[in-house]
Each structure stands twice: as C-alpha cells, then as structure tokens.
Assembly symmetry: C2
Homo-oligomer: 249 residues x 2
Amino acid sequence: MKILLTNDDGLQAPGINRLYQVLKEKHTVYTVAPEKEMSATGHAITLHKPLRVKEVELEAGVARAVNGTPSDCVKLALEAILPSPPDLVISGINSGPNLGNDVFYSGTVSAAVEGFFLGYPSLAVSLVLEGEFRDFSFGAYYINELLAKHGSKILEEKYLLNINFPPRPAEQIQGTKITKLSRRNYANVFDQRVDPRGQKYYWMTGSIEEMDEKDSDTMAIREGYVSITPLCVDLTSHEEIPELKKLNW
Amino acid sequence: MKILLTNDDGLQAPGINRLYQVLKEKHTVYTVAPEKEMSATGHAITLHKPLRVKEVELEAGVARAVNGTPSDCVKLALEAILPSPPDLVISGINSGPNLGNDVFYSGTVSAAVEGFFLGYPSLAVSLVLEGEFRDFSFGAYYINELLAKHGSKILEEKYLLNINFPPRPAEQIQGTKITKLSRRNYANVFDQRVDPRGQKYYWMTGSIEEMDEKDSDTMAIREGYVSITPLCVDLTSHEEIPELKKLNW
C-alpha cells in the first residue's frame, strides 16, 4: 500500500517514528508532518503565510517537514507534493487520547478528516498516556496488522476511523471494541493567576468529567480495549430540519 | 436576553460591531472576541500560553479582547469572565461565507460549537461577500428579528444554527431556506512559487468547485436566500458500526 503518514505532534515525535518504522517494512510510506508540535490546532489551515517544505533525515528514513498545521500537511501532500496518490492517509500515533467530542480540537483527527475530504480512506491513531507509560510499539504493530487483515475493506468502504489505544502493555490489552464518541466535559477549566505586574491571566486546564456511556470510546479505553470509532463529516442535524421548516421565517 | 457575542475576525471587525449595535437595544450583550483576526483557525484552543483579557472601547460600547482563538474566547467567557450565564451564544457576523464542509475550518462556527458544548444554544452568523458588497446591516436586523420571533424556540430546543446571508441588499433577499451543509471541493489548491533565494514555497489558494445539491446551503445562497442549517456535534458514523462489528478484530 502507499500511505501518507502525518501527525500533529511534529516530525520528531516518537509516535510517528515508531509507526513509520513498522509500516515501511511492507508499505511505501510518505511522511509529511508539521516541523513542530501542533496539538490542539483543530482543523486550522494556513492562509496568511506561505508554506515551506523541508526534507529531514529521521531514524526511520527521509521525511518532509512543513511549517504549518496537520491539515496543511495533508492538503499539501495530496495536492502538491506526493509523486502519486496514496491508498490511505494515517495520522498519528498521537501522544495522548483523542476521544469523544475532544476530536473537534484534535489536529490528529483533523488531518485524517482532511484526507477523507480529499477522497481518501483515513485513520486517526492515538495512544492514551498514563503515568510513565509511553510505549508506541503495540499501536504500531496493531495498525500494521489491521492493514494486513482489513486494509482492502477499509479502502473499499473508504472508512474514516478514529483509533485509540489504552495505556497498557500489549499483554494487558483486552481486545478491540467498535465504539461511538463519548461526551467529555471539563470542570475548572481555567486557572486564574496574577503576573508580577499585577495583571490577571488564565491558563486553560480542567479535569475531565467522564460519563459512563455504554459503547463509548472512553469506556472501551477505561476497560483496556482498543477503541475504533467510525466517523462521518456531515455536521447537518438532519432530524431537526422538518421542525425548523414549520416555523414562519 | 443575555447574549455572549464573539467572532473570528477580531473585535474591530465591522460584522461584530454592527451586530452589537443592533442587539444591544433590546438585549444585554457581552462581547468577548479575539484581539486580532483568527480566521481559518478551526477549533483550535490555546494550551501552551496564558490567555489575557483587555477591556476595549468600541463604537458600540465596551468589549473584551482576548489574545486567543474564537473557541478560547467562548470558553473563557462562559467559564471565567461573565458575571452570569447568558441565554445564547452568537458568533459573527463573519466577513465571508461559512458553508458546507468548510465549517470544519471556521473559527466562527467553532465558537458556536464551543458554546453548544458548554450547554448553550448558539448561532454562527456569516455574510457572503461579493465584489464591493460589505453591508452587515440586513444580517444584524435579521438576527434581531429572529430572536424576537423564534428566540424562545431556539432556547427551548437548544439549537445550534449556522446562518449565512447572501451578498445582496435587503430588498433583493428572496426569503429564508432551512438547508443541509453542501460538499465544497477546491481545485488548484496551491500556488507554487520560488523565492529570491531559489527556494520553493506554496500559497494556499484554490477555486471552489460547487455542486448543485438540492436543499443545500450553497444553493440557497446562490439563489439569494438566507440559509439556516441546524448542526449537530456527534461525528460518530452510527450506520457504519454494525458492519464494522462483524469484522474479526
């Protein structure tokens, strides 16, 4: 398979490097990723400055670094850089979860959505972190296996999948669950402080208030499963249309 | 009504000022918006630097400027700044359209989505621009009328509505259509150039390839109607779940 690989943690991040190392054994992998960390950029794109592309030597091979967002990387790769169209876009492996409605803030997921907009099946891949746990190997091998087992189905159905790995070593993973996105609310979102000149400022912070939703991605992760959620990109609330049409505008 | 007003063009933009002027006659309006333009920021949030809030005198009254994105403004207003919760969040009036899948890139829509996440009915409001046309007055009065006529319904149903005005003077507006989001594709997305030092760079550009989709927001605008699309925030593709569950994971 020809794979476009990107992320939002930047080209030097361990997750994308581990995935690149594993995937390149069987696949042609084009890595085009932000030159620096771009977490929480949502689906931002760069309109007001020019984008530049640099070739960079990584441990796993040669990659391209872009001075933009994850969505910029995918657009640029697919529309201007790659020698030929890939079969699949993969974004990750992200350092940290992309679960529930947090996918709206996620550069990782936005890169996959961008690939999907441009006509490609796409995977967003994230590893939930906990304590000292930072092992991207299980995730990388899982994606490799996934492509071997279900790659043709993913291409045929043109899936857009959001995949999260629980913060556990391989032998403690319980299996895989197909899930829906959960609702994640945050409490105490801002930490208000005063600077040395007496001016107030705010750090965004907050603790997650998770709800125990059956079949949700958050629940699957908590129980030690790999979570796979199929995503769609139509934000229209179709069921509200008939009621709204009845109103006198 | 108590209204939180924000935008992505920044506090000095004509759209938010015109809307503020009109709404403040009947409502209590808290304006909290980015201190500078934040277009195409998607749903970006600011985690790596502190946010600051400044009081600013505008033509229409006192407002608060934030050194962050539209989503930052809404989070900060609702979780830290406002003296009491508003009834409604309004984002706009944006200079330019927010139609179809472009809503994913839109700071204007993301601000409304953020309000909705935090439990409030929300409106994203945009004016399509064409040639010299820059008149936000019709849009501002339309929103004022909308609140008078359907405000209680919007609050009760907790709607999240994406509203676009066509680039026409009031007397040429054909009416209002309840629409679905269209698919918008772009052709020739990058303009590749070479700088004086012989290095390639890319400007993001591209011309829209619109499809004539029945009942879509893009069609309504083209025909001279105000377009109102109800949005949802669940990106789960529920109908793909059964098929995926059948696979051997």
